[in-house]
Amino acid sequence: MEFEAYDEATISQKLLPLFDDILLQKLQEKESRTIELLSRHLAQIILQSSQKDLPALSRSLQSVISPAISKEIEQNKDKMVDALYPIMGGMISKYVTQAIKEMMDNINEKIEDGLSFDRYKRKFKSKVSGVSETELLLEESSNAVISSLFVIHKESGLLIAEAHLEDQEIDDPHMVASMASAIKDFVNDWIKNNEDAKSSEVQIVSYGNETLYIESAGSVYIIAFLDSEPDHEQRLCINEFFAKLVKKYSRFFQHFDGDDSTEEVKDISQKMHTFLHTQPKNKKIKRLGSSKNGQGKNPAKMLLIVVGILFLGYLLYLGDQYYSLYCLEKRVFEKTDQNVHIKRINDKLHVFGNISSMNDFYTIKNIIFKETGEHLINELHMPLEEVDKRLSRQQDKAITRFESELSDKVAVFQKKIDLLEKKLNRFTSRYDKLQKQLDHIENTTGIKVYILKKLAQVFKNSDVFHKEDGSLDFKNRKLFKVGETLPRKESLQLLKENFKQYIEILMGNEKIAPFIKEIVIEGYTDSSGNYTFNKKLSEQRAWRIKEYLSGLGVSKRFHLYKILKAKGFANENPIIVNAVEDQEASRRIKIRFKIDQKKIINTIKKTIND
């Protein structure tokens, strides 16, 4: 390096920028060393600054702390809410403060007990899992024990199954379950009406020394009764157990009808009992053990040296493997934003942790296969709502398939029904036709009976009507004097009236008229005189009457001239009363109708042929 001049000012001007760069480079290379160096003075600097100009220090720290807090709230919203809730809850704040104090003392005691195997284990776990040491300590310090478990039908609040630790039975569990349901509904309703987060539901209810942890699925929810609030690990444990129950008994839960004597309820209760008796004790025993060890530092230090050497050896041996698994976890985190833990057990890659959806699972599966060429053993947990959704999707698929099969079958049946309907219609139509034919034949063959019935209705009070053959017989009306062919004038009116009614019925009825072949006027004489004379006399009487009747309006209206006939029968059928002839009665005429039999036969034939 050349200098224009060798005075102090020129040399400083040239060299000082170089020192800046070198110093910066050195500082960056030794970042940890730098922090160590600076940290010694940092507290002192902050203290001096606060004494000198506290407002200015606050302003400068505010610009750093505020965004940091905002970011923390954004990233760990639930944790922050959990942390702040006890402070906000006025009534319980005192107890919570006390609990936190005790918990912090516990943590501090553990931190002070620095040279313990647990600390190094915790540090290592923290490095590998990415969870802070404090958080792990918080988890360790939880002492919640689940004393009872309830599975409750969500809609009705009816208790489906229960399990308790010995001597921890709850009095009147069915009422407690209903009440817990009501409280849960009440709080959820309040949250819905008062909070922006419409989907949130109450999960923890505390009273006195009891805490209820509530986890909901589709149609049921589980309540765990604990002596304090459960930690993250315990919640996961309960959720995982509950998810298994929901998966296995989802149909039973959906159709639960209040009967708790079923095999399913017994089975669920047994599973819950087993769960209760396996989970909390180990944890408690383990925690108490570690606390006792904490009191004697020297044995721990000795143990630490031995275990530390072994542990380091083990770390070196497995270092490479752990590192590659750590990289794999990191990669999964980059891609899915999910913290999973990958472990090699029996030469298989087991993946633990929580994921939020099935998509995450498939992404993780692909990453692991791509990076290692191996298939993972799934030990991941999904939120219950995801399990629910998955179950619901499976159910939807099954329902769709069933619907499709059903609709195919329905279509086949529909075709058959259509075919049968067509056949039925044909049969019905044929039947109707036959029925009509039958009615027609019956009407036709029964025409005489019908005519007699009609005539009898009109002439029921008349003594001239003969109901057996439907004729009008004027035997009691003294129509003719001896040998006379003209009737007595006084009888004509009667004759006329009866004839008019008779013809109105026969020819005025469209069912009867087509089958009337003739209206016959029959003339008769008494038995005196010879047959030839009487025959002629009777014919003349019939003829005269016919002439008279033909002139009536009714005869013209029905064109009777074609069918009105006159016949003489001499003294046939005389009227005998007490073995003696009533000659005056025998001198009479009769009016009768004749049916056209040929027409009837033809009609029947036609009906059948049709």
Partner: protein
């Protein structure tokens, strides 16, 4: 044992809680009713030689200031709709209560209790008798209370 949830619904001060006190085996403290708007009680009954249990949700009468969560109505197999015979508007409102109940539980059974019937005159009592599913009850004089609960239970458990 089979258990069923039933509701006790009606306007404020029609005597629902008094009916419960007359009938049930066990109940939670009344202060729950004013706090969360429901009080749970239970009653074991014997129907056709079989033991059944009713879990009775006594719902507080809604007021303009305080509404009752609709989720309380869910999963109920039956309901007792209670009106006060001395206040006509409470009888008139029974239709509305029934509509809410039936909307949420279309297959649910129900009976109607015209409570405080001890205040009625004899001719009024006669005019209200013999109507299907209607009971003239008096928690005060213990009239028809058990009969009404049993009638509802029979309808629910025989279904």
């Amino acid at each position: 044992m089979i258990r069923k949830k039933i509701l006790l619904i009606g306007d404020f001060n029609v005597g629902k809680t008094s009916l419960i006190r007359r009938y049930v085996d066990n109940t939670f403290d009344d202060r729950y009713l004013t706090t969360i708007g429901v009080k749970i009680s239970k009653k074991k009954i014997l129907l056709n030689d079989e033991e059944c249990e009713l879990l009775i949700w006594d719902l507080e009468g809604a007021t303009p200031q305080k509404s009752i969560p609709k989720t309380y109505y869910g999963g109920a197999s039956g309901a007792i709709l209670v009106g006060d015979v001395s206040r006509f508007e409470t009888i008139k409102n029974l239709d509305e209560h029934m509509e809410v109940f039936k909307q949420i539980n279309p297959n649910g059974s129900y009976v109607i209790a015209y409570n405080k019937s001890d205040l009625l005159k004899l001719d009024q009592i006669k005019s209200l008798q013999n109507i299907e599913n209607v009971f003239l009850t008096s928690a005060k004089n213990d009239i028809n209370v058990e009969k009404m609960f049993i009638a509802l239970a029979k309808e629910i458990f025989n279904d």
